[in-house]
């Protein structure tokens, strides 16, 4: 079944095969996974901070197991959009979220009846700046895992599996009880990814995860994000268009229209980069503006 049949909301009705193969960095895993089933449906989503409207009228589906990159200039609502998906916007005083975000299984993420803590277990998040707790590496796993009722005897195994997943196990296995703050920036960010993975989320949101890292560390983190394709649904905000090109299955371009951010175009990665339809998206992706 082609993507346009499974998901009529697609603006560019093309398959995902062959997406920017020639542009992938040599070390980055190839895009062999083809997402088709929707995972999360976003309907008329908008976010206001007091009188300021961060973004409005966002409608699209995120597909199961895909890597979706959100690009666009600063201040067009990408991060606010990400934070509204796992309801971190609830922590911001005066923030109002409109519209709906629902899982494919029919469960909504909006409304007072939703167990927000359980929702955040389903939708994990990794931030721009690595933010391990200023405690031991082990504690960084113990605190969230204990909170979500994982038995004590399973924690060490989960921690090892997730640290191996991000290539950190061999680097830290002899200092699990030392402070996580002693790790380098790139290691800290991989620890944060491992910590998010430990809760077995269905979706992980990445908010510019490489922008605070040096190019080498950034490359390593990027490859580990790319390796999640097919296992976890990934939504990543990035200002690095080359990175979006390398790892994303689909790309959404945010832009400010009438005083608020919105998605002006989205679709398969190669379509968006080679043949953008929206003039603003075209000029942004070609590096002419933004």
């Amino acid at each position: 079944m082609s993507l346009s049949e499974s998901n009529p909301s697609f603006r560019v009705a093309e398959g995902l095969s062959g997406c920017c193969d020639s542009d992938c960095a040599p070390a980055a895993p190839q895009k062999e996974f083809h997402a088709s089933a929707p995972k999360l449906s976003v309907t008329d989503l908008s976010v206001h901070y007091g009188g300021f409207e961060a973004f409005r009228d966002v409608n699209f589906d995120i597909l199961e197991g895909e890597i979706m990159a959100l690009v666009g200039p600063s201040g067009c609502g990408k991060s606010s959009f990400l934070h509204s998906l796992n309801r971190l916007t609830d922590l911001v005083p005066g923030c109002r979220v409109g519209g709906d975000v629902s899982f494919a299984d029919g469960s909504t993420t909006r409304g007072a009846a939703v167990d927000v803590l359980a929702l955040r277990r389903r939708i994990g998040m990794v931030f721009q700046k690595p933010n391990p707790f200023p405690q031991s590496i082990r504690k960084n796993f113990e605190i969230p895992l204990r909170e979500h009722g994982v038995p004590k005897k399973e924690i060490a195994g989960t921690m090892e599996r997730c640290l191996r997943d991000v290539g950190l196990w061999d680097e830290v296995s002899d200092r699990l009880d030392k402070s996580a703050m002693k790790l380098s920036g790139g290691q800290q960010q991989r620890l944060c990814i491992a910590r998010a993975l430990a809760l077995d989320p269905e979706i992980i949101l990445f908010d510019e995860p490489c922008s605070a890292l040096d190019p080498m560390a950034s490359g390593v983190v990027e490859n580990h994000i790319a390796a999640l394709r097919g296992r976890v649904t990934v939504i990543i905000v990035t200002h690095n268009l080359a990175q979006a090109k390398r790892i994303a299955d689909r790309v959404a371009v945010f832009w400010v229209r009438d005083g608020a951010g919105t998605i002006v175009e989205y679709g398969p990665c190669d379509e968006i980069f080679t043949n953008p339809q929206d003039p603003a998206a075209k000029c942004y992706l070609e590096g002419v503006c933004g």
Binding site: R120, N131, P132, F133, P134, I143, E147, H148
Partner: protein, 290 residues
């Protein structure tokens, strides 16, 4: 020579001004250290000949002119324990509530911090009178170590609230979203993430508070009383070191030598508590970041 850049040399006046500022700063530092040195020298010259193991452990004799300060030290430590047991939970609790459960800048937060600051500006003798009226008479605790400790707690509360609040406010801003994104409850976030991170700052506040409490005379005169007997319990009246020093210096003829020796004991006690608290906080900080 063409192309050669010349920089204007600094003028004689500006060099003299630089030198003058340095000299004034050094002078101010010398006066500060000098005053401390003078106090310590004076105390040592007067008190050291009287200081002995018998003085530290012995009974008070002839209203303090002879004998030692054993019961006074015990009363001081007991007053301090009563103070810590009541002030730390109250002060830290109030600050945590302000920082985590009340919206910053809201009317409620402003009213409570305003009240705390007002409390800080109340003279200690007023706390003494309040303690006598409320703890000794209304609550029926009488002149007792407990009344003294509780009165000190009221007096030092603002220091504890303010220092804990600033410790909480100076935590990295990304810890709270990091905890939120992992689905941690507010209680777990506070207990397992924020409090351990803020602990060194809170300990500095407690140390400052202890120093303030140990130095206090006026608030204890009317509450914990003058008794120089060995206290059996916190119901007993007991004389604090600061009260003992005041009494010897003001009311007892030929009491100055023992007043100086008692002051030396108080100085060493404060120094020991400060060093212990600083060492603990340092060890904690070293574990986290070095």
């Amino acid at each position: 020579m063409p192309g050669e850049t010349t920089f204007p040399k600094s003028t004689v006046q500006s060099r003299i001004a630089d030198w003058g500022v340095g000299l004034v700063g050094a002078g101010a530092a010398a006066v500060t250290v000098g005053v401390l040195g003078w106090i310590v020298w004076d105390l040592m010259a007067m008190g050291l000949p009287n200081l002995s193991w018998e003085f530290i452990t012995g009974d008070v004799e002839q209203s303090g002119r002879a004998g030692g300060v054993g019961p006074v030290i015990l009363s001081t430590v007991l007053i301090l324990l009563c103070f810590l047991a009541s002030a730390v939970p109250l002060g830290v609790g109030c600050a945590l509530w302000l920082s985590e459960f009340v919206r910053r800048g809201s009317g409620l937060a402003r009213a409570v911090t305003g009240g705390v600051d007002l409390l800080a500006s109340v003279p200690s003798i007023v706390f003494g009178l309040f303690g006598m009226a409320f703890f000794c008479q209304v609550l029926g605790l009488g002149f007792s170590i407990l009344s003294g400790g509780l009165t000190l707690a009221c007096m030092v509360l603002p220091i504890l609230v303010r220092t804990t609040l600033s410790a909480m406010n100076s935590l990295p801003v990304d810890l709270r979203p990091a905890a939120g994104a992992l689905g941690l409850t507010r209680t777990t976030t506070l207990r397992q993430v924020l409090l351990p991170a803020a602990l060194p700052g809170i300990m500095i506040g407690v140390t400052l508070g202890v120093g303030r409490a140990l130095a206090e005379t006026a608030a204890l005169l009317f509450t914990s009383g003058y008794s120089t007997r060995w206290p059996d319990s916190i119901d007993n009246s007991g004389r604090a070191l600061s009260v003992h020093i005041y009494d010897l210096a003001m009311n007892i003829p030929n009491g100055n030598a023992n007043a100086s020796a008692s002051a030396l004991v108080l100085l060493v006690l404060i120094l020991a508590i400060n060093l212990a608290a600083t060492a603990l906080a340092d060890r904690w900080i070293k574990f986290r970041i070095s």
